[in-house]
Each structure stands twice: as C-alpha cells, then as structure tokens.
C-alpha cells in the first residue's frame, strides 16, 4: 500500500479542513518531516528487498560454467586428413542436476604429430545448427541455411559470420583430450588440407 502513495505531495497540501484554519508553521513542518521520513524509510525497505532479489536473479550472468577435460579417444584411432565425428558421454553439472550428456565433436588430424590436431565444436557459427562433413565435396555443410566450411573450418559459403569454433585439445600418453570450452576464431587461413 505504501508503495502506491501518490508521488506528488501537492494534492494534499494541508492535513485537513479544520486543521488548516488554525494550522501553524510548525504543523506544516511536522507534516513535511513525516512525509520525508515515509519516503526515506520506504526507499530503504525497497532497496533492502531489491538488492538480494536482483542479485539472485542476475546469478546466471555472474557465474560462468566450469569447463571440464574430456577423453575423446586414442590418437591412433583417428585417420589422418579426414574429419572424424566423435561422440562422448560425460557427466555434466547443470545447477543442482548432474546429468549424463552425450556430446559430439569433429576431430581433424592433419598429420601424425601431436600438434596437427583440431577439435571442432559441432555447431555452425551462424545460428548453432549441427553441421556434418560431406566427403564428396570435402566440405562441412550446415543443413539450416546452407552454411559451408572447408576442412580447416573456414567459411566458404553461406551466412556464417566466422570460422568454426574449436575446443582446446591435448594429447597425453597417446590419448586425445579436449576442454569443453569452445574458442572463437576471428579470421582463418584457408591453407591446404
């Protein structure tokens, strides 16, 4: 009820008809003082309630998700020069739920060293549809808006604004691991496959 009080004090200049007749200066100041106190205290209560509520509501912005390390498989199982679709099952924490999630990634092994490995995020950089590798034309093709990427993830057609996102990866004891935090690339050199 207090919050709905009129914002302008002008409507009620005086406490009441009878009082106005004999109203002294002191009476007016008491009224003003009480009105100020009312608005100050109401604001204080409002702020006290808003801070935790707004902070709680904005929680998802304030807290970022934690990336995890995922085992993708033995390095030797990935062919050289052909993007390979990998599917992994991992435990993911979503708020209060720990869920088993299946996730995919595209792994490209450019050569037989540990450095020539790219792990692509499986979503088109346009609007996030799942793309696939077409071996006939040697392109990643997105079914939604016909976005096309070459084997290095560089845009070669359609609306995608940037090259395919990648996951940081690492080889330990002959096993390929990736970190579940995609990284964006602004530009791309479309070198030979």
């Amino acid at each position: 009820m207090g919050n709905e009080a009129p914002s302008s004090g002008k409507v009620y200049k005086a406490p009441g008809g009878e009082h106005v007749a004999g109203a002294s200066e002191r009476d007016i100041t008491r009224r003003q003082w009480l009105a100020r106190f009312f608005w100050a205290a109401t604001s204080l209560v409002g702020v006290g309630m808003s801070v935790p509520v707004v902070g709680y509501f904005l929680g998802p912005i304030l807290k970022a998700g934690r990336p995890t390390d995922v085992k993708l498989g033995k390095l030797d199982d990935f062919p050289i020069g052909v993007p390979q679709r990998v599917e992994v099952t991992l435990f993911r924490v979503n708020g209060w739920v720990t869920e088993q999630a299946r996730q995919i990634a595209w792994v490209l092994r450019k050569n037989d060293t540990n450095d020539g490995i790219v792990v692509f995020d499986p979503h088109c950089t346009h609007l996030g549809c799942a793309y696939h590798w077409s071996d006939d034309v040697k392109q990643f093709q997105c079914p939604c808006h016909d976005g096309r990427f070459d084997i290095n993830g560089c845009v070669i057609g359609g609306p995608p604004p940037r090259p395919l996102d990648t996951y940081p990866s690492e080889v330990r004891d002959g096993v390929l691991y990736a970190v579940t935090k995609p990284q964006r690339k602004a530009s791309c050199q479309s070198s030979k496959a």
Partner: protein
Amino acid sequence: MSIIKSLADWVDERLGTREIGQALFGRKIPEATGLVSWIYTLGSVVMFLFILQAATGMFLAMNYAPTPENAYDSVRFISEQAPFGAFLRGLHHWGASAMVVGVALHLLTVFLLGAYKYPRELTWVTGVFLLLIVLFFGFTGYLLPWNEKAYWATLVGTNIAREAPVVGPAVARLLTGSDELGAQTLTRFYSIHVLLLPAAVIAFMAVHLFMVVRQGVTAPPARGGKSPELDLETQRRRELDKYHAQKEAGEPFYPYSLSKDVAAVLIVFVAIMALAWWFPAEVGQFPDPTDTNYNPRPEWYFLFLFQFLKYFPGSLEPVVAVVLPSLVFVGLLVLPFVDRRLLRHPLDRPLASGGACAALLGIIFLTVAGASSPQVSPYVPQPAEVAEGQRVYRQLHCDYCHSVNGRGGVIGPDLALATEQRHDKSWIVNHLENPQLVVSGKPISPMGVLPVLLPDQTEAVAAYIEELRGGGPYSALAPVLFQTYCMGCHRLNGHGSTFAPDLSSIGLMRTRSFIHRYIENPKAVVGSARMPSFLTPQGPLTHEFVEDLARYLAVQRGSVAPKESTSSSR
C-alpha cells in the same frame, strides 16, 4: 517537471488517480496515541510481510524443482551456490515466521480492542480466513525443501488430517495425492503453495482492505459508561455518529499514520534481515523413510499443537488434533455475530480479555514446552563435501549396485559395512577413477563401463564413502585416548564401565561428524546430556585428539548392542 505534471494530469483525467489516492491515502484516521497507535501498525506490517514473502518466493521458485529427486538438491543449490540464495531463503524462512506472529498479534489486538464489532464484522471474517490461509502457507511451504525435517513433519501432519472423523482419510489423500508421501504430494503442495494460496490470499486481502477503507479504522476504545437501556439500532447509530466525529477530527493517513506504519515495517524488516543473515534456513539432510533415529518436529508455530497432543490418550487424538482446532476456527468466524454488544474497551469485557490472555499464555507455555522436549536424535550437519558426495551417489544411482548399511544393490560391496577393508581415501579416489586397476583379481570391473566422474565429484564421493566407513584412519593413540578418558564411564568390546552406554556398535548409529561434535560439547547436541565437554579449555582434549577419537569410535561396529540409544542420554 512540467512534463511529469502534464503526464500525471493526463493519467488522472482518464483513470481518476487523484480521487483514488485521496480516498486511500487522504482518508482520515481517528487519533490514537501511545501503545494503541503502534498496535494500529500491525496490519501494515502483515501486509509488508506478504509482499516480502511474494517477492522472495517468486524468485526462489526460479531455482526450485518440485520433484522428490531434485527438490532437496535444488534447495541446496539455492543455499550454497546461487548468489544471495542463502540470504533470500533466510528472508523467506524468517518472513514466514514473522507472518504467523504478525497475523496472530493482529488478531489478538483486534480482539482485545473489540475492533471486530459492528460495522466491521466482515473485516474480521475475512481476517480469520486470512489467518487460516497463512497457516496453510506455513504447512505447505514446510515440505518443499524435502529434507528430513520437512518429510517427517509433513508425514505427521497428513496423518493428523487422516484422524479427522468421517472425512479424514479422504482429506489425507487429497493432501498427499496418493497412498504415501511422494512425487504427487510434492507437486500438490507446491502448486497449492505458489498458485492456489496466493490467489486466495489476494482475494481475501482485497475484501479485507476494501472494508478497512470503507468502514474506516476504529477509534481507540473508550470505557463504556452505564449506558441507558437503548435498543441495538439506536446504540449503533449513536456509536457511528460518535465515530464519524472522531474520524473527522483525526489526521490523514498519509503521511501521519503511514509514516508510523513504515517505521514499524522498517524495524521488522531489519530484524528479519539480521535473522536471515546470521541464522540462514538450514538445508538439512535428504530424507530417508527407513531412518528410525529421526525426531520429527513441526515448525515452531505448530509446536503448541504438537505438545498439546502429548497430554491426551490416543483415543482422544482426533478430537484434540482436528475437532478442537476446527471449533476454534468456527468460533472465531461467528464471534462478531454472537458478541453483538458494542462495548469495546478490554476492561469492560473481562471475560473476553481474560480468555484471550489465557489462550495466549497457554500457547506460549505449550510452545516452550514443545521446544524444550528432549530430542532422541539431534541434527548434526555433515561436512559440505560429504553432503555433495551423498548427492552424487544418489543422483548417479550408485545404489543400483552398491548398498549402504544393507540398503541398495548387491552387485558391489556394501560401502558402510565392509570396514575390514579399510582403504584410505586415495585408494577410493583411484578406484573411482580407474576401477579396473584396483580391484585385484577382477581385471574389468562393471564400473569400468561408466563414464568418468568430474574430478571434484570423485573427491566428494570418496569423502562420502570415507564418512560411511568411519571418516578416515585413526592413529595408534586413539585406543589409548579411549582407555584414558572414556573407559571410566563407557564400555567397549567387553571392557570398561557400564555407567554410561556401551559404545561397541556406536559406529552403526552415528557418523564421525556426530561423534566429534558430541565429544566436543555433548550439551550442545543433546540438551539433557550428562557427559561433560572434552574439548579444551573445558576438557582435556584438543580438536585433533577429538577427531582421532571420533574416527576410532565411528568404526566400532561390533555386535554388542548398546543398552540404550547410545550417545544420547535423555
């Protein structure tokens, strides 16, 4: 400024805001001074509390999942991870208690000042319904955290409803939604708590407030003289004329009464914030329907009823638990129609005033008695990592294969009972990460096919398993400590005194956390404990020694059953 004014003018011309504002805030309030003027703020305080409960509640609901699988974990998420979550829950928790107190005081003072009488009978009737709604809010909200406290209190609550004559079983089924407390109960309570009751409260509050504005706030009661024998109609007309004169002589609601209202609101709000900050609502433990150690207790504002029940034999229980409260409710509803005298001053109505004070004292006495009644198995919080491990264990359904104290699957070993294999924590961590490497003679464990846990989950599950097994290794000193400090009173595996309970199987009933806390300060765990504190400076042991001793005792799982429930002397 002129833009704001012309905008206000525009709105006013269409909506009539100034007229409405004048009716709501410019209306006059009969002069009240001293204590009575503060009593007049109670209605506004209760209304503020409703706003507080609504505001905190609708945001808490954003991270709450009303299913038995997820409710407890989502509440724990709110309390432990969401920014301001613990504080927000604290505000809602203490706001609920304040609401019950506020509504009860409001009712009591309106009764004492005779404000329910002509022409405000309807205000009173809607107010009694609002009281009932507030109590239902309390009852349904109490279940939502789905912890042990919530589970057992609701179990008892719905069983009380079942006791009601004739309609009891049907009512209980309506509440629980099925034969037992479960998924359907939780969704029912949730939708009642967040949809049905708020709608009801708004409807009744609208009428209640409309009546307040329409009939005006009562003038403070005056002592009634020996009124001449007039008929009721004349008395009422005179009373109304007198009231209108008093009202005209009063000051407008804004800012005179309203500033006092908001001062009271500010005090109450600061108190609730302090409570929420220093005493946040507890998360508790996941309920275990097979737990026979737990002490169900209702929320404190139902304690008086809980205590009252203890004084009556079982055969009278339906009368005390259902019929009596229903009669009180009906009595309150019809009160203004039965008591039609216009005398309002409490001293002119000794019977009513005396009765109200007696009822209040009785409720206070029963509440205190209920709160101080001994608990057989008090709550000692588990370490956060152990609780997290228990959550992962439950969510990943480890109990499909493993069991704890005989509950669960039989494919893997029982995690609590297999104490002869006392592997340390690093073994458990290693086992969870590479099951096939550690189990000797079993090259591939069935666990090998499971996806790998997140690293800190492995740690947490290991901590939970370790807690189940007694909480980690103890030193060679621990048995010596026991002989030195404990055997004078306690008995273990056939040695020691029988003065205090035998501790040979204490590990089956108590966790390391509990034993540790108990040795530190028994009275803090069980109020009536006779055992002295053993922690320095009151006692001889440091934290390290207490922990050592607690771990030693937590693995005492012998077959000798203690005479009494072990560490809780009653």
